[in-house]
Structures are given as C-alpha cells and as structure tokens.
Amino acid sequence: MDRIQISATDRSPRVDFDFASGRFQLSGESYPEDAAAFFGPLLQSLRTYLAAAASEPIVFEVELAYFNSSSAKALMNLFMPLEDAAGEGRAVTIRWLFTKGDETIAEAGEDFASDFSHARFDLVETSQAEC
C-alpha cells in the first residue's frame, strides 16, 4: 500500500501512515470542521491494511496537543481495528505521547488505554518544548 503522508494544518494533524514498515503517526492538533471527512479515508486504509494477511508488528504513535470530541471519536474508531488485530495475535503497540504536565491529554490517554486489553498501550511523557 502507498504510504499516506499529510502535512499538518492549524486544525488537522500531520499524518504519516507507513504501511510498509508498520509505523503510523499522528501529530499536532486535531479539530477539523468535519472530522469524519478527515479521518474516514484513514480508517478505510487502516482497515484494508489490517485485512491483508501480514504479521509485522505495528507501532501507532499519537502525539496530539489538542483534539476535539469528534476527533476523539475518530481516534476510537482507528483504535478498534488495531485492538481487534492484536486480539488475533498481531503485535500492536500504541504510543500515546503527551507533554509533561498536560493532564488533559494524559487523562485522555488513560481513558483510551482502558479500552485496550490485547494491544500494548504506552503512555509516554515528553518534555521537549514544541515551539
């Protein structure tokens, strides 16, 4: 599958889905006017990728400074097939990065983490300044 790379805007995150290496990244902020329109194609690609019989480990990295509730829903939708794949024995790691002291994002990560039982969900505190 072709790698998906989308540059960040002030309202949507940077996307880098490298299917070949099994590395997925979302970073920046996410509050697009229409979250379904932005995340829909990504979810579709992810599902297609997971449906193909491959077994290399998957690392899905999320480093969002802010996301609105629609984006949270969309993230949930992205995570569900990953958890399902992990349930089927695939090595899946979610890396949830949050800035030191950002309890909102950390809390959201904890909320997401509680939904996973098969995939590994790492909460990673970062301390480097973004700006």
Binding site: Y31, Y66, T104
Partner: protein
C-alpha cells in the same frame, strides 16, 4: 436642410482624413492605405470629449508616412542642386576664360607673325607682294577679318567684314608693323577671330551641367525613396500596426529581424515599444486580475454577510431556547453562567429550571460547534423538556438514560439506519434545598466542587449520550447507565459544571505549548474562591484569555457556577 441630410454629414471621427495628393496622386500606397488594407478602421465614438480609442491613430495617420521622403527631398535637394550647379558654372567659367585667353594669345601671335612677315619699309607700296601672307590668315577656321594700314593710317588691305563696335563673339588682335631701322612703325595690322566656338562649348557645358543635375535629382529621388521606404517606412508601418493592435488590447510586439532591416534608431524604438507592450500587457493582466479579485472579494463579502446575518438570526433563536439566567432566583441558589459559543451559535447548551421543590441545572456539550452543534442542542432541549415535564423524571441518572434514548431515537441512531454519528456530553445536577442535598450524574462532564476540604472533581461516565451503538461491544451496545452521586452540602460549598471548551485552552506555559486542563482551571477558581460568582466568572474569562495569548479558542465554552444559599 432636412434632418436626414444633416445626419448624412459624416462625423469628424469617421470622416476620412483629407490629404492632398497633388504631388503624388497615383503614387504607391500611403501608410494609412496600408493600414486600411490590413483591416484596421477607426472606431467611431458618439460622445465628444471622451478620449476615443483611435486617438493615437489620429496623430500617426494624419501625417502621411510617404511625405517623409517628400519632405526630405524638398529640404535636401535644392541645396544639392544649387551646389552642383554652382560648381558646374564655376568650372565652365574657368574653362571659358582659359579658352578665351588661348584664343586671344593665338590671335596676337598670328597678327604678330603676319606683321613681321610683311615688315618691309615699303610694304605698303607693294601690297601685291605681301597679299599672299595676309591671305594665309583666312585659312584659320575662326578667321573673320583682317585690316592692314600704312604708316599714315591709310587702309592698304582688307579681307573679310569688320563689324562695327565691340562684339563678345569677336577677338581682336592689333599690332604695329615695325622695321628695325626705323623709329616709327610703318603701319598697323588688326586681326579679328571668331569666338563662336567658345560660346558653343560653353553652351554645351551648360546643357551638360543641367543634364547632370537632372540625372542626379532622379538618382537622388529614387535612392532616397527606396532607402526611406526600406529602412524607415517599412519598420514604422509595422510599428504602427503593432500600436493599433495594442490599442485594441491585442498584445503584439514588433520583430524586425528578417524581412525588414531597420536602422539602428528604429531598432531601439522597436525594442522600447516591445518593452512597453510587455509592461502594458502585464499591467493590463494585473488590472484584470485585480478586477476579478475585487469582484470575487465582493461576492465573498456578500456571501459572508448573508451567512453572518443568517447566523445572527440563528443566535437569536438559540438564545431564546436557552433559559433565563435568573430562572433560579428565589430558589436558594446563587447562579452565574458563562455561555460563549465559538461562532455565534454553538453546540453548548445549558438549562436552569425550578421544578416544584427542586432545581435542575444541566450543562451539555453536543458534537460539533457552530450551526451543526446548534441543531443538536435543539434536539436536546426538546428531549429534556419532555423528560422533565411529560415523564416527570427527577433522578439525574434516569434523566441521562432517558436523554440518551431520546436523542438516539431522534437521530435514528437506534438501528433504523442513520448517517448521524452525533451525541453529547452532559452533566446534570438536582438541588433539593429541603434535604440540603445535591445529586449529580454525568456523561463525559464532571462536577467540580469547592468545599472547605478543598477542590474535588466528580467524574461522570466516560461515554457520552447518543451516538449509534453498532459495532464493538466495548462502546456499549446497551442503554446508557450511570449512578447518581449525592452530596450533602455545607454553607459556602460551590459547584461548577463546565464543558471541555473551558479546560481545553491552548497556551504556552514554561516553554511548553499545552492545554490548560482541569487543573489549570481549578487553580484559577481556587485563587478566586472568595469572590462572588459573577465576578469570579469574569476573572476566569480574563485568565483564560491571558493563558491563550495569541492562540485561538478551540471550542464553545459553557460554565455554570452555583452556590446554595440560606443554609442556616
């Protein structure tokens, strides 16, 4: 004169320019004839005083291009002709004088030779002896006459006619006949030679000079004309054509390489013209783009005004759906409300109502903001109204469950096929003053309390209300269920229900760009806990803005602060 005939008089704008062709009536095409053949005509204009499109053409056309050669000829030729003629006349004059001098010398020589030949003391007595000598003079083709006189002045011999007076055509040579032995001359001799040949020569020279001048003139005219035409007129015509094209905003440039060779100056003019055309073209394009841009901008401004008007109207509707902020006055509660949609209208909603003995306080954050969010708030408002008044529910947990069901039914998320993936977070409190008890249930919204013990946050259910339940069971395919939390209230206890728009303030703190979060908001509320609720909310708003700095707000904001009073 009738009106019709008056109308037939051509307007000056379209009247053909009057030109005199007296000099070269049937001559070659004029510059403007050429342009007419090339398909250019003047654009008539009805309104006088306005600059007509052909203004440039007027000046360029009025001056006949061919008259340039004519003017050059008239200015230069007389000078050349006068110089040539003067030179020829000078040469002729010198030649004539030289010839005249030679003739005179010849006449003198002949006369002297003849006089010496007949110089004898007695020559006049025997004219027969010397007659042959004198007759020899008649052999000269220019001979006219000869006269010989003796010492006394008596005519001895006469040949030919001697015209009376002086004549230009006659050269006279007189000499005395002297004998060495005698002191006095023994006679005199006068010879007349004709200068007619000289005059003939002079005439011939004059005719030659005139002819040469004429030939020179002809050659000059032809050369001048050919060169002006080739090196000046042809490139100028191309320039004119290009200018006319440019007048009609067809951006054509002039390329003089190839067929037409231009003199250096015209080359320079042509490049300057091309640069000008390029400048005009880009200027015109820029102007057109600017016009289009202005048009688009005006349309956008129009569309924006329409949308803003429409949204302004929508805001009136939404605010009229919201309760009076003083709805709980007299119910034993101090209440302060902050409701600030991101875009005039929004997905945040609150409800305040006194129902019999209890007061209901609701804060909801529907998915989306702006107009889409506002739509959901109307559904929530209707559903809540039915739950509270028709079904008469008073338990926060039951109310939320009912709300969940009704919203899903309304948005057809209950399996009847719907595109809606919408829902809401909701926090709901019921204050029972008689029991001094506050009960709370939340779905995605927590209750923040500030009591003597400090600040606590009672989280509701993680999951929101609404949203279709298809798919994973983790999302909960079943009805929304939660527990009601009941709190005993002490005097001074203050409670806050807020949407995530309050806590999700992006800002930079300690070099790190991150959200303010619940902790940040709680800190602000704790710092200002001694203020009245109204001022405290103002303080909060100010501090939130300060934290954001240059960042924009991300979401609608709603916060309701309430503090039970009269708790003796």
């Amino acid at each position: 004169m009738t009106v019709e005939s008056a109308a037939e008089v051509p307007s000056p704008a379209i009247a053909p320019p009057s030109r005199r062709r007296s000099l070269r009536g049937g001559g070659p095409l004029r510059g403007d004839d050429f342009l007419t053949l090339a398909g250019f005509t003047d654009v008539p204009t009805a309104t006088p005083g306005t600059m007509r499109p052909g203004a440039l053409r007027g000046s360029a056309r009025g001056r006949d291009l061919d008259s340039l050669a004519h003017t050059l000829f008239l200015r230069i030729y007389p000078v050349i002709a006068v110089v040539v003629l003067a030179t020829q006349i000078g040469i002729a004059w010198v030649n004539y004088n030289d010839s005249l001098r030679l003739y005179t010398e010849r006449a003198n020589l002949l006369a002297t030779l003849t006089a010496q030949a007949i110089a004898r003391p007695d020559w006049s007595e025997r004219p027969d002896v010397y007659k042959t000598q004198i007759q020899a003079l008649t052999l000269d083709p220019a001979f006219r006459f000869v006269r010989a006189w003796n010492a006394d002045g008596g005519l001895v011999m006469a040949l030919g006619d001697m015209p009376g007076g002086r004549s230009l055509e006659l050269i006279r040579a007189s000499t005395e006949i002297t004998v060495p032995d005698r002191a006095k001359p023994v006679g005199s001799l006068t010879l007349g030679l004709s200068a007619e040949a000289l005059r003939g020569n002079a005439e011939k020279q004059a005719v030659l000079a005139l002819g040469a001048s004429l030939v020179l003139m002809l050659a000059f005219v032809l050369t001048l004309h050919a060169n002006v035409r080739r090196h000046v007129l042809a490139p100028l015509k191309r320039l004119l054509i290009a200018m006319r094209e440019v007048e009609h905003k067809r951006w054509s440039t002039v390329e003089l390489e190839g067929a037409v060779r231009a003199s250096n100056e015209i080359d320079v003019i042509s490049s300057a013209f091309n640069r000008m055309v390029e400048g005009l073209r880009t200027g015109d394009e820029a102007k057109q783009l600017l016009t289009e841009l202005e048009l688009a901008h005006a349309k956008l401004a129009d569309a924006n005004r329409l949308v803003m008007e429409s949204i302004g109207y929508a805001r009136r509707i939404q605010t009229s759906v919201l309760p009076d902020r003083m709805a709980l006055a007299g119910a034993g509660l101090d209440v302060a409300v902050l409701w600030e949609p991101l875009h005039q209208v929004g997905g945040d909603y609150f409800w305040l109502e006194r129902l019999d003995e209890v007061s209901v306080i609701v804060v909801a954050d529907c998915t989306g903001h702006g107009v889409p969010g506002a739509f959901i708030t109307l559904i929530v408002a209707t559903a809540l109204d039915r739950i509270l008044h028709e079904r008469g529910l008073r338990s926060p947990a039951e109310i939320l469950s009912a709300l969940d069901e009704m919203v899903r039914a309304q948005l057809r998320q209950d399996g009847r096929g719907s595109e809606s993936d919408d829902g809401l977070d909701c926090g709901l409190c019921i204050w029972d003053p008689a029991a001094r008890r506050l009960s709370f249930a939340g779905a995605g919204i927590s209750l923040t309390t500030v009591t003597q013990a400090g600040m606590t946050r009672i989280k509701g259910e993680k999951r929101g209300l609404g949203y279709p339940r298809h798919g994973s069971e983790r999302q909960g395919n079943e009805r929304f269920r939660t527990e009601t939390v009941t709190l005993d209230v002490a005097p001074g206890d203050t409670f806050y229900l807020m949407t995530d728009g309050i806590t999700d303030q992006m800002g930079t703190t300690g070099g790190q760009r991150r959200l303010l979060g619940h902790r940040g908001v709680s800190d602000i509320l704790l710092r200002s806990r001694d203020e009245e609720l109204g001022p405290q909310i103002k303080t909060l708003e100010t501090e939130l803005a300060a934290y954001r700095g240059a960042e924009n707000r991300r979401d609608d904001m709603t916060l309701i602060a309430f503090r039970p009073t009269n708790l003796a």
